[in-house]
């Protein structure tokens, strides 16, 4: 049945000839020059470790998850990285559901080799108990739309997702010190993976008898091309992998030229990925600040630093200054891990998120007219590092508008206020904050259009 149903789309001779002929004058069908990449957009989902990449018409999503498993016997203190590619029938009428076809397997292997063999992801840091428990990181790549050059897009998606993925922190504890405690993200900030370098894949297509080289072929060019080569390299100038499986033969000098071009392109891609990841991390840090409202009672008993006992009953009007203080405190706090853990436990027993009186008076960076860029630029980078653990944020109060007795749950806040740059809540009361959906929808739309 699949054979009958699979699309029997074939390129016409006219289209083939047109592509080949226009390449003779250095023109490609979509107006690019032979060594230009298409427009790349990297977006992230709300969770850590989910990315969505659009390279021209090619649309790819990647999700990273992790779980604790037993390590391989010959590598007892290394975690594992596994890679699953799904060529969804959504992407192309000729992709079929079920067993991955050879293209899917090849793509998976190229990306896997680029990441694993080059030791881009540090697997030793994934070990929890040597020989017994290690983290196994699983990357799922879903191809949504096949516009050509799936390897590069999938690679970028995987790298972006890995860069933003965070695994839960776990410590040995319990009565005998042998029990493994996995801390949920609300209690302890999850830890990002250690990534040494970004191996970026660059794909070349060889079209026509003269073997004209094009970079980033579209799916029309892929149908026309006689051979392809994928080079995976990083910004340090290391070649992580080269894949040229059959196809037309090319001169070694052409291959060397491709490598040189690829190293330039890899640099571009790496910087784009890094920028996208950074802005995601910044936004995440800002969101974290709101989220930890619910655990603010946690820090009530951190005595000398904040005079916290008054906390539960009043709002504190603090300035930005407090955020810096709190950052300092958190880095101190990190050294006193055990003590903090105890504090958390006692506090969690006493209060729970919902009844937190302080309510949604989130530390809104914009309510005092703080310049959001300044905020992002300096503190945020520090904020990301340590303090988001229990960033008890001094509530910069929305003056006199807060109704203390209204326990509004946290969840409104991240949505409400995370739209950085949309400062609309200055004048409004708490009631407005909890008025839901149609408002949020508009804000969300605005946020996305602003992005």
């Amino acid at each position: 049945m699949e054979q009958r149903l699979a699309s029997t789309w074939r390129m016409s001779v006219n289209e083939t000839k047109f592509i080949e002929n226009s390449l003779l004058s250095d023109l490609r069908v979509d107006g690019r020059r032979p060594f230009d990449y298409r427009r790349l957009t990297i977006k992230f989902g709300r969770d850590d470790g989910s990315s969505e990449v659009q390279l021209g018409n090619t649309h790819v999503m990647a999700f990273v998850t992790s779980q604790l498993v037993q390590p391989y016997r010959d590598r007892p203190n290394e975690g594992t990285l596994s890679f699953y590619t799904e060529f969804s029938p959504m992407a192309d009428p000729s992709f079929e559901a079920g067993r991955p076809g050879e293209l899917a397997v090849e793509l998976g292997r190229i990306i896997d080799r680029g990441l694993r063999e080059s030791k881009a992801v540090d697997t030793e840091s994934l070990c929890v108990i040597s020989g017994k428990l290690v983290w196994s990181v699983r990357i799922d790549v879903h191809i949504l739309d096949n516009g050509g050059n799936l390897v590069d897009a999938a690679n970028i998606a995987a790298l972006a997702a890995l860069s933003t993925f965070r695994r839960p922190e776990c410590t040995l504890g319990g009565e005998d010190g042998q029990e493994l405690i996995i801390h949920p993200p609300e209690v302890r900030e999850p830890i990002p993976l250690i990534i040494h370098h970004l191996p970026v894949a660059v794909t070349f297509g060889f079209i026509g008898k003269e073997n004209i080289v094009v970079i980033d072929p579209t799916h029309y060019e892929e149908t026309v091309m006689g051979g392809r080569m994928t080079v995976t390299l990083n910004t340090n100038g290391d070649v992580c992998a080269i894949q040229k499986a059959g196809g037309d033969g090319v001169l070694p000098s052409v291959i060397m030229q491709c490598l040189r071009i690829a190293s330039v392109k890899a640099g571009d891609m790496s910087s784009k990925i890094k920028n996208a990841v950074e802005s995601f991390n910044t936004e995440r840090a800002l969101r974290k600040i709101k989220r930890h409202n619910s655990s603010a009672p946690v820090d009530v008993s951190e005595p000398a630093q904040k005079g916290g006992t008054e906390f539960s009953d009043t709002h504190m009007c603090r300035l930005n200054l407090m955020s810096e203080e709190s950052r300092v405190i958190q880095s101190n706090g990190m050294e006193v891990d055990g003590k903090l853990l105890q504090q958390e436990e006692t506090i969690m027993r006493d209060s729970d998120a919902k009844s937190f009186i302080g309510g949604p008076s989130s530390w809104d960076p914009h309510s005092k007219g703080v310049n959001s860029d300044a905020l992002r630029a300096s503190p945020a980078s520090q904020v990301v590092e340590a303090p988001t653990k229990k960033l008890e944020d001094p509530k910069v109060d929305q003056p006199s508008d807060m109704e203390l007795t209204q326990p509004v749950s946290d969840n409104t806040l991240p949505n409400e206020v995370a739209n950085t740059g949309l400062q609309t809540s200055e004048e409004k009361t708490l009631e407005d904050a909890i008025k839901p959906k149609h408002k949020r929808k508009k804000k969300k739309k605005k946020a996305s259009s602003q992005q």
Partner: protein, 243 residues
Amino acid sequence: MDIDRADGRTANQLRPLACSRNVLNRAHGSASWSQGETKVIAAVYGPKAGTNKNENPEKACFEVIWKPKTGQIGKAEKEYEMILKRTVQSICLSNVNPNTTTSIIIQVVHDDGALLPCAINAACTALVDAGIPLKHLAVAICCCVSQNGHVILDPNKLEEQTLKAFAYLVFPNSIISLPSEASSKLRGEPLEQGIITSVTQGVMPVEDYFHCLDRGRAATSKLSDFLRKNLHLQTPNNPSKAG
């Protein structure tokens, strides 16, 4: 009577809806639908020639492929595929293109409760985007019953897991009809009061189920309006998407 919901909604409030059509290039029809944090992308290819051996060749056939976010495809995904397929079969005009197969592919982007209704809505929009002939549209909604018998609409994942029971309900699109009602009556009942699909989980008393139905039906008018507005607004797309 007021339920305290975690995100501040009342019992009858839906999460913010967002829908976009034509999000993919290769697919004949595609749509992305999100309710709150739950987001689903649907793509439609078809009609393609030929049907499955088991299917009736005198009618159009549908196949649904459900792709979860991570992990293997298991029984739950197969069940969703089956429910979606039967729902779609009931809204499509199956005599228009006999001996053809239309594929609907669902990709879960994020699951925060009410996943199946979101997928059904997305699939419906994608079918419209692909131009598959339909009798009417379908709108899906999830209703939850709490411990004290209150009915809540559109729960998120936490609410779904903690409340007593929930039901996924699919209704036909509400009709904006002209004064003559004779044509829209089916066996004495107006057509828009029918239910296409109902999937329940958990135990609930019969009255509560009927309450769910009523609430769900009332909510479908809001959903239908949203859907209609969305389908109107899109500009005409490129003529040919084949290949």
